[in-house]
């Protein structure tokens, strides 16, 4: 259970101070598939960063099973991230001097997980183990970053516009892999996107604007990546 209480976050100083998050409270259940929708500048990425422990809020609390991660020290927060959460960004952030195997292994090693090959195969890259990022397509690179994030076996996977740099077919393919892996491993997904169609894949949809939650609703049925529009 992820419980968020009255989170605020501002950037800048003095007159140029801008309040990005204006007191957001929310609960996310284990195994949920949450999509956060919002236009550019609505604060959705900042919200993702705060609830994932990448950034600290100015005020408010973020509980993971009763532990308020806003009170953790830097080292404790690092340990928390290592053990509990995985990230996927719009840019793939792969290490260019490492092949697929070693990019994924790096994430697995840091979390002490030796059984990472299964994940590579699950994202369909079993045949491209020794290819370098520059030899892969955009979709394949994003699948490597998915595998790397999941190789740690996180409880929550945070995705920030994971299909933002991909074309439709590749985007669908990546989302399909993510959903299949979610069903297989049972982790929670929190995904930020501005693509309204992707919201149809989620169980819970959160709409944000100007740093506030303006709507939260549950989809009665969840579509697959190939059933949604684009």
């Amino acid at each position: 259970m992820l419980k968020i209480k009255d989170i605020t976050k501002s950037y800048g100083n003095g007159e140029s101070r801008f309040r990005v998050l204006q007191g957001i409270s929310l609960e996310i259940k284990d195994g949920d598939f949450v999509v956060i929708l919002g236009v550019s500048g609505s604060g959705k990425s900042t919200f993702l960063n705060v609830i994932s422990g990448l950034e600290r809020p100015d005020s408010g609390e973020v509980f993971y099973d009763g532990t308020d991660i806003t009170l953790l020290s830097d080292n404790e927060l690092t340990a928390f991230r290592k053990e509990n959460v995985g990230f996927i960004f719009q840019q793939y952030y792969l290490l260019p001097n490492m092949d697929v195997d070693r990019n994924v292994k790096m994430g697995a090693d840091l979390a002490g997980n030796k059984d990472y090959m299964e994940i590579i195969k699950a994202v369909g890259l079993g045949e491209k183990l020794h290819k370098y990022p520059s030899e892969l397509s955009g979709g394949e690179q994003q699948r490597v970053s998915v595998a790397r994030a999941l190789a740690k076996k996180p409880r929550v996977l945070f995705l920030d516009e994971p299909t933002g740099a991909l074309d439709e077919m590749t985007g669908r393919e990546v989302l399909d892999y993510i959903c299949r892996l979610k069903n297989q491993y049972g982790f929670t997904i929190v995904m930020v996107t501005h693509n309204l169609n992707i919201a149809e894949m989620a169980k819970t949809v959160i709409k944000m604007n100007s740093g506030k939650l303006i709507n939260i609703y549950q989809n009665e049925t969840q579509k697959t990546a190939y059933e949604i529009g684009w």
């Binding site: 990448l54 690092t78 053990e83 001097n97 490492m98 790096m106």
Partner: protein, 757 residues
Amino acid sequence: MWKEYSKSYIQNNRLSGLSVRIAAFISALLLSLLCGVFYNLWKYEVERIVLEEGGWQSRIAGSFSPEEIEAVRNFASVKDMVVRDGTGEGAASYGKQSYVEQGDGQESETVIDLYFDRYGAVLKDTPRIAELAGASPEQTAYHYGLLAMYLIRHPSDPAPRLLFPLFLLITGIASFSLIVIIHNSFVLSMNARIHQFGIFSSIGATPRQIRTCLLQEAAVLCAFPVVAGNLSGIAGSMGILELTNRILGGEVPGRHKAVFGYHPLVLGVTLFVTVLTIWISAWLPAGKLSRLTPLEAIKNTGELQLKRRKNSRILGLFFGMEGELAGNALKAQRKALRTASLSLVFSFMAFTMMECFVTTSDISTRETYFERYQDVWDIMVTVRDGDGAAFEEINEIRALPGVESVVAYQKAMAKRVIREEEISEEMKSFGGFSHASESVVTKVDGGWMVNAPLVILDDSSFLDYCEQIGIPPCLDGAVVRNLIRDVTDPDFRHVQNVPYLNTGSTGEGTVSILMRPGSEEMAEVPVLCYTAEVPLLREEYATLDYYQLVHFLPVSLWEKIRGQIGEGEGELYLRILGGENVTLEQLNGLQERIDSLLAGKYVTESENRIQEYELNGRQIQGMKLIFGGFCVLLALIGIGNVFSNTLGFVRQRKREFARYMSLGLTPENMGKMFRIEAMVLAGRPVLVTLPLAVVVMGLMLKMSYIAVGEFLAQAPFVPIAVFMAAILGFVALAYYLGWRNVRKISLAEVLRDDTML
């Protein structure tokens, strides 16, 4: 992380670590050189002390029976001992396995020199040994100088033993300076990958893991350079020692040849200091980098960007748009190029200042010493405890082939009162004694008491001097140097001398009343002449005490008055002229003959003018070589940093150029931009140094009263221009190689790179 990431990063990005490697190598080299030279300096000093003063560590003096001596010999920590009588004769060595009978068994003043197993036992055991031998603490003595070389300091040692503190200070300063310089190389290398460490952090790497990874990388990058630098430093210190031997070998009186040595402990200390220096340099940026949050790090693309846009108007004015872009690029790279800028500026500045300073010093020494005394002396011999009156060998020296003239002289000090009416009008014009310090001139009843140095010439030379100044040769009086400098004019190089005393024509027939310093005793000396002309001696008069009234007198007269005036200095000086156009070989031969003539009877030290001139030249060359070497090493750090920048940031520069190209700039424009950057980087040391050098040299010339024209005629333009050209050449080469990599630009490739980030 090391195995998965760093290893392949280092293997695939050799050039980006170049700056770090060069910096580590040069640090190791400098520190190793410093430690190696210091160790050999220490070793040489120990050898010198042992040779000159003996290697005993402590000694006890008194009357000792054979039983007491035996007890001392059997003391546990005593390795060896030498028993001597009070005169220093009849020394006998008493090792652990030997025993030598005392001559007649009678008790006499005996000195026992003690040698211990360990230096650490000296202070603790010497009092116990003295007690055992029945000697009081006052009868013990410690070899302070030798003990201090082993960091053992007796509380009553009065001398400031500065060798080790000086070494620690120099090493500390060197280490700190290197940290400042190398630190920037590490910052540069590490900052280029902040983004990648952000990725690590986002997938769970802890700050500690990142820091460890960076330090491991630093260790691997620096391992070979540290070893190579240390070995080069050892070789360098060997070279410096050899150079010192060649420059000074056998030509400095009393100097023994330095033999190179290297102790494993020195290697240990050197490695420790080097590793510590490099580790601190790497740890500072690694620690800072590891503390970045994943978001901060991941958003950093390593791109070179200006925080605030400032146009480079000057470059724009001179070189147009390319100049402006080059200026912006240099500003954006300011941090990355900081090591290069600092090293190149400091090295060029140090080199220029050294050359200018040496030139000034050379002009000064030549004018005030070699040229002034060129026709005054060829060989100088100092005879310890010599007595001019009893020195009979002077005639044998005069008879030696190749000797043109010999003057034997001694010096003594007396006092003389100068009355108001004796002061010359010229001296009165600048205030008489009003400017004189009380330490040199004392106001007494009826006048001023001044110092009256006595230069006591052998009779024959004094008679020659009388002829030289045009008075009848006579041994019954003194000739007084009647000159005083205008004390209000500080120009020591072009001294304005005026008559000291108002003596009428020559002052002949007057007397000079000389007094023994600190006593009422006095002697009346007839004055033969007051004159401005001095005998041809290698002496300077009234340089520190401007009010000295120098008296020249024959040794026969000195014999008559020395009872009242007191003893002269212990040394007797022989000034020998060897004739016109004499060569070094001739002077060396003559010097050797004089030395052998005096050997056995006197303790002497001799030097000859040409040899000293050449030695002086070689010392200056040696100093320039060593200091210049340091300047070159410093410049190498900067040049390494430039290469590292131009070859290591190809991707960033390609991205930068891609943007410009999309706006319509051509590769030729980019080439010009690179050339301007190189020129600015290499030109900065000149622009910073030259105005500073002009100001500093202006002050120096003013202080040393050397004319600007005289300096310019000998100014070191060529070496400075060569150094400058070398910097320019290497920087240009670095930028040319960088340009070759960057110019093959493909917009598609650059865009693809962007998505990789």
